[in-house]
Symmetry: C2
Subunit: 331 residues, 2 copies
């Protein structure tokens, strides 16, 4: 049985979104037309926006709490990769039909959980109706000290390339949710992989080390290989990734062992929300030591070369891999 | 014949969106994961977000240039009402299918025109696919001097209530586009009204006078009467608007004369993107003189009363009007 939420648009905002903005300076309880940010002296504001759409970025049967968590997570992930501390976010949500109270409660709880986990708060938003699928557009804002945002374009020939966490889990999780591979995995492993698609964990621990050590960084959203190619293109370099060095979770490793064809999904499937970084040779000892101290799992997976050498992913025997779709593309 | 745009998502961004960010400091040619804003000392950042969806905020047959203009216009309108100078915006766009090059060109031209008219530039964005209708979510950022953002909540008993421009044009324009009223109007008048729905003109001229004189302000997007009620609620006051004083365009006045039932559309239909302001009695002379000097058309339409007097719209005879839907509500 579905219950209609009270009081239309204003009622929905008051009951389900205002609590998320309760402690946000400059949100004015979501009772104004706009939010206000007052940057401290010497700080710059990093802004990023990502929209997620039902049937494209998440499946129809995703729980509202997971959808909320993902909407904020994919944006905060961009901030982490730029070395910016998450601060506030704005949320535009297009609801298909009038959702029931339970659905809205769970959505709100998902945002509350994500806010707590990521250290940021709701500043403002817009709630509209759509005749189409549910869509959420988040704009997230974070702070960096003046001149310290880390770009995609700073990689230099000879840099070592690192990633945080493990790669390919979310792509395999999505394949699993779409019906593949369950017989390769334990129930726990299957839950782990699908959880990585549902609730990305932006690498907040990477913020200080990115800022301190990375020449270039970006988050991996469209697939490791394609995103690595983007970083190289922005930096006007080439580079190579060794598939054998790409860090895998136990679940992903087990699946890959039984179905080697999944390597493509792992390297190009995306939705990883890990950080890809390019580190100068001479910074590596300090970088690795800072990561260890912060408990941040990192792995060296390749290096930056001159542009003329191209951008490659090398297989376990050192041969260049070819991908039909090097990264996720909407068009 | 439709032509496929080149190179997928990256190709679309490079060709149609990057030119909009060419001169934006901190946009990095849209080749990074995020944009950067460096506020001047003593300035605060006002942020607002609004999403527009095909079939809800604009009709299916709207030209892409008009859709772009409206997506940015409705956001800049919020900034104007807060006394903030527009600076940059982020755009998330959900495209249904792969649009052809001509459509994308016109969309890009619409944004370019709006940027020029409104004095702001593209900082970043996201381009995704949707199985549903076209949707555009814009987050716009503007600057105010520290502590000078104008709120909804500042109205005081005895304030005079003003609006810019004319009211009801866009609501009548939409009715016209949906097939009503053409026989009441000349072709030019019909074009004027539908143009007011298609290409809202945020009141940039209101920014300095709002900042200098208004106790409270907001833009009128959901309908004059409902938005006035929101301003009163935020300010913990009551108030009254005189329908006879509400400024009408020639086209709206002519239609209303022939069909008095349209008063409801005019007062509650919304999409006006005019500024509603509450001005202290003692500031009125300076306010009106500054508006005259700036060439900003304003009209006194009512006053703020104590909360116990309620929020009213009075008809031409001074009787309280009742509306079935005091303002537009998505739910």
């Amino acid at each position: 049985m579905t219950k209609k939420p009270p009081h239309g648009e204003t009622g929905i905002i008051r009951r389900y979104f205002s609590p998320l903005a309760e402690d946000t300076p400059g949100a004015f309880g979501l009772r104004d037309d706009a939010g206000l940010i007052s940057p401290q002296e010497g700080m710059e504001l990093v802004l990023t926006t990502d929209m997620i759409v039902e049937g494209v970025h998440f499946l129809e049967n995703y729980k509202p709490g997971d959808i909320a968590y993902k909407a904020l997570g994919v944006n905060v992930s961009d901030l982490c990769a730029k070395g910016a501390e998450p601060s506030v976010y704005l949320l535009s949500i297009a609801l298909s039909g009038t959702p029931d109270t339970e659905w809205l409660e769970q959505l709100s709880e998902g945002f509350a959980a994500a806010q707590t986990d990521f250290g940021c708060r709701l500043l403002g938003g817009d709630t509209v109706h759509t005749p189409g699928p549910l869509a959420l557009s988040v704009t997230a804002a974070g702070f960096v000290p003046l001149g310290r945002m880390v770009h995609r374009s700073g990689a230099r020939v000879g840099d070592q390339v690192y990633v945080t966490g493990t790669i390919g889990d979310a792509a395999l999780g999505l394949a699993l949710l779409n019906g593949a591979g369950a017989d390769h995995l334990s129930g726990e492993q299957a839950d782990f992989l699908s959880g990585r698609h549902k609730r990305p964990q932006p690498r907040l621990g990477a913020i200080p080390v990115v800022r301190a050590h990375a020449n270039a960084a970006m988050d991996i959203s469209d697939g490791l290989f394609g995103d690595f190619a983007k970083l190289c293109a922005a930096s006007n370099t080439g580079g190579a990734i060794n598939a054998a060095d790409v860090p895998l979770s136990d679940a992903a490793a087990r699946w890959l062992e039984q179905d080697p064809e999944r390597l493509g999904d792992i390297l190009t499937g995306g939705d990883d929300y890990e950080v890809l970084m390019s580190i100068s040779e001479e910074n590596i000892i300090a970088f690795e030591s800072d990561c260890a101290q912060a408990g941040l799992q990192i792995k060296r997976i390749g290096c930056i070369a001159s542009r003329s050498e191209g951008v490659k992913a090398l297989d376990f025997g050192g041969k260049s891999l070819e991908f039909k779709h090097p990264s996720y593309d909407h068009f």
